[in-house]
Amino acid sequence: MKTKTYARFVKRWEEVTDLPPQTLGPLTRPYKKLTKRLKVMPWPWLVGISLIGVIGLYMILGSAITFLVTLLQRGF
């Protein structure tokens, strides 16, 4: 029995199965956990990682970080 719902389901199924799932052997599970966070509303994670990176940069460069920003601001 072919209903509109079934036709939509088949279309969506073909859409999803068209691309083979990503596998990384033993790392597949942690990879799936990480990408789950990035597929929908990734911003909290992107901002969090950026913040950690910038704090690390500040700990390495100190106030010389302002020189890097001066260069970037002139970069457009």
Partner: protein, 207 residues
């Protein structure tokens, strides 16, 4: 559907996809590659032209009609060449490692990765007017510098995410092959970016 209808529909699709790239990038890229139209590159091109017009106005201190300035024409021309060079390089390397898909779909997918690029350059241009460099080493200078770097890094990660998704959906590549494509293409882009820097066109790569 006539040309005007096609352009209007693509404009609406562009708006919907742009919002989707912020909220649900994975599904949006699947939709872009499966159902998108290359006419959607038109709003992206208009956004780029708008940004270059603003950048030319900021960089050049004259009252000439800025659309006719050398600065604007150089920026538009070089950005166009860069875009197609990057798309063609990624497409070529991607198909060599076993990628499948059509070039037009891949160009559309890569075109949407220009949104983070435009966002960063626009932010930097506006800040150049509001808070021109140099930054000082006082507390406020360091605080602003850290805030600017957090925003810049976030936009950069967003760009990397969209780049990954365009290779994943546009060329049907898996993570390993995407890494191989990135490693092969990176020196080519680095060389091109260095050439643009030496010519004084783009100090920061406009990729």
């Amino acid at each position: 559907m006539d040309r005007v209808d096609q352009i209007l529909v693509s404009g609406v699709a562009f708006g919907k996809n742009s919002l989707g790239l912020i909220l649900r990038p994975y599904e949006t890229y699947r939709r872009i590659v499966d159902r998108g139209s290359v006419v959607e590159l038109l709003p992206i091109g208009l956004l780029l032209a708008g940004y270059f017009a603003l950048a030319s106005l900021v960089k050049e201190d004259t009252l000439r009609p800025f659309l006719l300035t050398r600065q604007f024409m150089v920026l538009v021309g070089t950005a166009g060449v860069s875009f197609f060079l990057v798309s063609a390089t990624l497409w070529t390397v991607g198909t060599i490692v076993g990628g499948k898909g059509t070039f037009s779909r891949f160009v559309l997918a890569w075109g949407y990765t220009m949104l983070p690029t435009i966002a960063w350059f626009l932010m930097t241009s506006i800040l150049y007017l509001i808070l021109p460099p140099p930054r000082t080493t006082r507390t406020l200078g360091v605080a602003f510098s850290m805030l600017y770097l957090v925003i810049s890094a976030t936009i950069l990660f967003w760009k990397i995410l969209l780049g990954y998704l365009s290779l994943r959906f546009g060329l049907r590549l898996d993570l390993g092959k995407i890494v191989v494509v990135a490693i092969v293409a990176a020196p080519i882009f680095a060389l091109y970016s260095f050439a643009m820097y030496k010519l004084g066109v783009f100090k920061v790569p406009f990729l």
